[in-house]
């Protein structure tokens, strides 16, 4: 792998969202290039690996963590989230309740996981099953770009695991942001506003943000 001076990146990505929104199918489509209506509900967590040739010098290996959507498995998410570098939050465009749960998933994620530099992990929102023709986004006039901005998503895509729409694009978007956040030197996100806190760390209530 090193023989052509290739760099290799390894990223753990989470795929989360409510039950039955299509997390497993998206991963199956992305990794195995197929779609099947015959699949099993995820219990606990499942895994898959995708290798991307990012550019001439870079290979990106993505560990995709497929996490059970039922609420009670939320009691285990702290363990699943550990050391992840990015996330997809998925909802089903035909079911408004799964969109309402998106902010709940985002809060759960951000409260249990931050990057070493203290920032939240880059997260892309996936509006899945867009092939079904019933679109709660359109029907409710939700402005997705604004929603993403307000809720800290780096981007959003309408996807379909069934018709293979936008899944590669969504992944490239997420990886791009992860690479950017990695090369983003810690100093640049520690502007002078933060430095006084560092100097007087005793009065900072959330010192964890500056650890390591």
């Amino acid at each position: 792998m090193q023989k052509h001076n290739q760099k290799e990146h390894l990223y753990k990505l989470l795929v989360i969202g409510d039950l039955g929104v299509g997390k497993t199918s998206i991963i199956k489509r992305y990794v195995h290039q197929n779609f099947s209506p015959h699949y099993r509900a995820t219990i606990g967590v499942d895994f898959a690996l995708k290798v991307l040739s990012w550019d001439a010098e870079t290979v990106v290996r993505l560990q995709l963590w497929d996490i059970a959507g039922q609420e009670r498995f939320g009691n285990m998410t702290r363990v699943y989230y550990r050391e992840a570098m990015g996330a997809f939050i998925v909802f089903d465009v035909t079911r408004p309740a799964t969109f309402e749960a998106v902010t709940k998933w985002k809060e759960d994620l951000d409260s249990k996981l931050v990057l070493p530099n203290g920032k939240p992990v880059p997260t892309v929102l996936l509006a899945n099953k867009c092939d079904q023709g019933i679109d709660v986004l359109m029907n409710n006039g939700i402005k997705m770009d604004q929603f993403c901005k307000e809720n800290g998503f780096v981007g959003w895509f309408e996807t379909s695991a069934k018709e293979n729409i936008n899944i590669n694009e969504a992944s490239r978007c997420l990886v791009k942001h992860i690479i950017a956040s990695e090369s983003d030197p810690v100093q640049s996100i520690e502007p002078d506003i933060i430095k006084p806190h560092l100097n007087s760390s005793k009065i900072v209530s959330c010192s964890a943000c500056f650890k390591s």
């Binding site: 039950l19 039955g20 209506p37 015959h38 699949y39 099993r40 509900a41 219990i43 606990g44 967590v45 499942d46 895994f47 690996l49 560990q63 059970a68 039922q70 009670r72 498995f73 009691n75 285990m76 363990v79 699943y80 550990r82």
Partner: protein, 286 residues
């Protein structure tokens, strides 16, 4: 044996255990599970209860989740393959009835494969009471809201592994692989989605007779034979590789005869553990 069950249970329990270890004949399995689990008695004490629950509409919150799962249990089994077919209908009835029977617990996704296996062996009403016994007597707390019991059993499994296979224990500790990453599905579904079918049935035969310790033993056998020597660990350099290995277990160690024999021969060891495992020097046994 089934005709004089009470006598056998009272006086010849060892014989029953041996029969279960050797495998219950397929033609008797469904009935035997009901005797072993006590679900037969439970049904007799609650005549009409299932029909009563069956007629109630149920909480839409649970119905929605259950309906989403109906076609996702053993999707290639002929009983569950067709949408709205008998298998899926019965599965719905059993799971819905449980949410009405224990509204505070509701429905947990891991109950569906359990109920599906039961339905392959008995009618809906019988399967319901058998599910009740599993959820309340065999694996209490596994499916309830906070999932605390399964997390606790994960820790117990891990500390048992320390005794049974220090090599595997050290490896998993070093790679910071929390037990819930690999044992959740194993334990919550009683290996029904992990092992080849003939092994599932043999494990369930023993499980119904001897209880949750069978699940622990199977877990320990699988861990030990997957990660228990430095040779086996060569291909498990990283956390992800290890988890891949645990997910795609070698067919050899899951094979019915091998697995059951391993689980059985650990029986005596297990009793010893309960008495005084520390004094025995388990590292040598492992």
């Amino acid at each position: 044996m089934l005709n004089n069950w009470d006598k056998w249970m009272a006086k010849k329990h060892k014989k029953i255990r041996l029969r279960c270890q050797k495998g219950i004949p397929p033609s008797l399995r469904g009935r035997a599970w009901q005797y072993l689990s006590g679900s037969k008695v439970k049904l007799e004490q609650n005549i009409g209860k299932f029909d009563e629950l069956d007629l109630l509409p149920g909480d839409p919150k649970w119905l929605d989740v259950i309906e989403r799962d109906l076609h996702r249990q053993f999707p290639f089994h002929e009983m569950f393959v067709s949408r709205g077919g008998h298998g899926q209908q019965d599965l719905f009835r059993v799971l819905k009835a449980y949410t009405l029977y224990r509204p505070e617990e509701g429905y947990c996704q891991a109950q569906a494969p359990i109920a599906a296996v039961l339905l392959m062996h008995m009618p809906a009403e019988q399967a319901f009471w058998c599910l009740v016994q599993i959820c309340e007597k065999y694996l209490p707390g596994y499916y309830s809201e906070k999932l605390e019991a399964i997390q606790l059993d994960g820790q117990i499994l891990f500390s048992l592994l320390h005794k049974v296979s220090p090599v595997a224990y050290k490896h998993l500790s070093k790679q910071k692989i929390d037990p819930i990453l690999y044992m959740t599905e194993w334990f919550m579904c009683a290996f029904s989605r992990t092992l080849p079918w003939s092994s599932v049935l043999r494990v369930w035969d023993m499980f119904f007779c001897e209880g949750v310790k069978i699940i622990f033993r199977v877990g320990l056998v699988l861990l030990k034979h997957t990660l228990g020597s430095s040779d086996k660990l060569k291909s498990c350099q990283g956390q992800y590789e290890t988890m891949e290995r645990l997910r795609a277990l070698s067919p050899k160690i899951m094979q019915e005869t091998f697995l059951v024999q391993e689980v059985r021969c650990w029986g005596t060891v297990w009793v010893a553990t309960l008495l005084d495992w520390a004094a025995l020097g388990w590292a040598e046994l492992a």
